[in-house]
Symmetry: C2
Subunit: 422 residues, 2 copies
């Protein structure tokens, strides 16, 4: 058993609460939350928080983890050149070994910014899962069905395999995007959803071109088309959701579909600014994601949270727009629920021990006028003292505990890139 | 003498260059830049860069350092409530002791994000200067003349005093803003500028209300009014510059006036997004600032640099807009020149030893596809391995060397805030 004591416990579910409760961890789960007890068990480790904050980890609700290899590979160029001339030709070179190493690099970066779970859509899921298991990280894979899949039935096999492989791994059904998928593929997806009665996720209304193209092809926006085809019959949601019409927002709110916002990626690729406040006010459930490193270029949840709030202020020209508490709840609670890992949405008995410690003894956290606002508006990776996933400390005081040394991973990553650039 | 070796030397002046040159420091200045020599002198310390990047420090070209005390004190509220109900009443409580401690807290935060000099406008400059000298930091003060100054002649006394106090300290003439200053004060400032033939800085066109109000009061925009009054006769520039007309931009380009952009503050206070690309294309010299912690809320140059580029992409709806190299040059070179500390604009013999070491052995810097883009688009405070100001290491591996322990400063800051909140 591991004991966290002598700190501030920050919980976000159902509103912000701050107590001085202890938290005990047994195996992969939390076994006690409350005041110090008279009778104490034997602990394997006792972590003195020394006044720091213990809180739920951030859930990265949309990403392509292995895309770390394209970080700063092709920036500051028009979107189509970036995608067709740079990203696609490089992705064609990926194999199992490289996906494994690039994924490990991404997981390391997640740990540095307090991310404890990812909602990932990419290639070569066997190797991706192996990297997550070897590191001890938690991930939910979303299938990326599209026109270019040689064998769409593989998705069902993956669905069954990865939902039964390990407590840290799960798999949800999804498609890449409307613009990469014909109606036939969408109908096949519908049949799978009907069979398993499970939510559906997709890149949705990310760019104006995507929405215009969908209207041209189908006479309606992506959310309306997907809904008409029955793809949202069991819930789910969309990644990005930048160019949502009032009707689309009403649909998401009515069906309780998750809108996952990716503010950094949407700025960097000049996609636009999502109407986060408008969606929240309409009752759309929301979460936050980093997207991949190719379009961000960091996997830094502090930057995403900051922008998820302050971009609303400038979009609405109102300094009262946005709001730190809501953003923190989206990051810690919303993300977990969107990904279907409700056991990671709170620090409570029986929940997964997916937690982070925020160091308050850094200048950017002082004075302690308001700790939640400090975390969202001034927080940075320097404040992540410890990241625990499934009861295991994977990152502490700048060091990684993921089964191998960072230098070994960096070396392999650079070697792969030398080959890729040839 | 201190020796930096075995790394990558990144210089920004006149274009990005990367070499493997060594850098030697004697006293407060750089005494050698070049390859390893056959005959080596005795060094007081030899710093093995171990492949990391040595580069010029970032210059924070607009800030109110002591405003750290209002971090997260009043967020997510309308601008006027924030300013009149929260900021002004709290500022009235400041005295010399509190300004000293709040300034030290700000300097600590600068050091964590690689900032080596600040261009500051605030109160109680004696105590502000004392904090900078005690920490060994470099600062340029800008006077904040406005209608509420009881004794405007104090500015001339400060100008003479602080320009002759220490190599790390200088003082420039400026006013708070058009909307806080009558014509009489502006004419007094003009007389000082004529006397000392020196540049002039001011908060300029930060909000639409400011510009509209100036047009109502004077029939022209703030830049046009200030120029007409002769305040820009010896150069200078403006802070923020969000709501610039084409005429204003043409004026700034023609007179080579500095536009200092503050992207985070402009988002958080819902002021708008400055037209950085448009100003650069017109030939306006530019620099970057954090503004104060009350409106940011961090003093984190990585966040500012990231946004100085990517906000241009979304503003112009063009992923090719912005650009990492230009932003880095604004941060390291432009800032120094705007502040009149040209000796801090490069790593070269005779220049100030104001330098930072960027740690490449963190996951966000890998792979090394493009180091300058990695720094701007993925960099964070975790990458600041060392910050040197005037030849002294003030921050290294997370530790501060500023004459006293962080805990002592935090303790005094929290104590002051308890008094202030009464």
């Amino acid at each position: 058993m591991i004991r966290f004591y002598n700190g501030k416990l920050l919980r976000l579910k159902g509103g912000v609460s701050m107590t001085e409760h202890e938290v005990w961890v047994e195996g992969s789960r939390i076994c006690y939350v409350g005041p110090k007890k008279d009778q104490m068990p034997d602990f394997e480790r006792e972590i003195d928080l020394d006044g720091d904050v213990l809180m739920p980890g951030f859930k990265n609700a949309h990403t392509h983890t292995a895309m770390t290899f394209l970080r700063s590979y092709a920036d500051d160029m028009p979107l189509n050149d970036w995608l067709f001339k740079q990203v696609f030709p490089m992705e064609a070179k990926l194999d199992g070994e490289t996906v494994y190493d690039f994924t490990k690099l991404g997981i390391m970066e997640y740990l540095t910014s307090g991310i404890t779970a990812s909602f990932d859509m990419y290639y070569r899921n066997d190797d991706y899962v192996r990297a997550n298991l070897d590191c001890g990280f938690r991930t939910v894979i979303c299938s990326a069905l599209n026109n270019f899949d040689a064998d769409p039935t593989n998705i069902e096999r993956e669905y069954l395999k990865f939902n039964n492989i390990h407590e840290n791994i799960s798999y949800m059904l999804g498609m890449h995007a409307e613009y990469t998928s014909g109606l036939e593929r969408m109908e096949y997806m519908r049949s799978l959803l009907d069979k398993y009665k499970t939510p559906f996720f997709i890149h949705c209304s990310e760019t104006k071109e995507e929405v215009d193209g969908c209207i041209e092809r189908h006479g309606m926006t992506p959310p309306q088309l997907l809904d008409k085809l029955g793809l949202f019959n069991y819930g789910g949601g969309g990644y990005h959701c930048v160019w949502m019409t009032d009707e689309d927002i009403e649909l998401f709110a009515r069906k309780k579909l998750w809108a996952v916002t990716n503010p950094c990626s949407n700025l960097k690729l000049a996609s636009g600014i999502a109407m986060v406040d408008k969606m929240l006010e309409a009752g759309v459930p929301m979460a936050i994601g980093t997207d991949g490193a190719a379009s961000n270029n960091a996997l830094d949840f502090f930057r995403e949270m900051y922008l998820a709030s302050v971009l609303q202020k400038v979009q609405n020209m109102d300094a009262a727009a946005g709001g730190a508490e809501k953003v923190l709840e989206m990051a810690c609670v919303g993300g977990a629920q969107a990904m279907g890992i409700n056991d990671a949405d709170d620090i409570a008995e029986g929940k997964f021990a997916d937690m982070i410690v925020i160091d308050l003894k850094r200048p950017n956290m002082r004075p302690l006028n308001n700790i939640t606002k400090n975390i969202v508006y001034a927080g940075s990776k320097e404040n992540v003292r410890l990241t625990m996933v499934a009861g295991k400390v994977l990152y502490e005081n700048g060091e990684f505990f993921i089964g191998e040394e960072p230098e070994a991973i960096y070396e392999r990553v650079e070697k792969h890139m030398q080959e890729f650039r040839k």
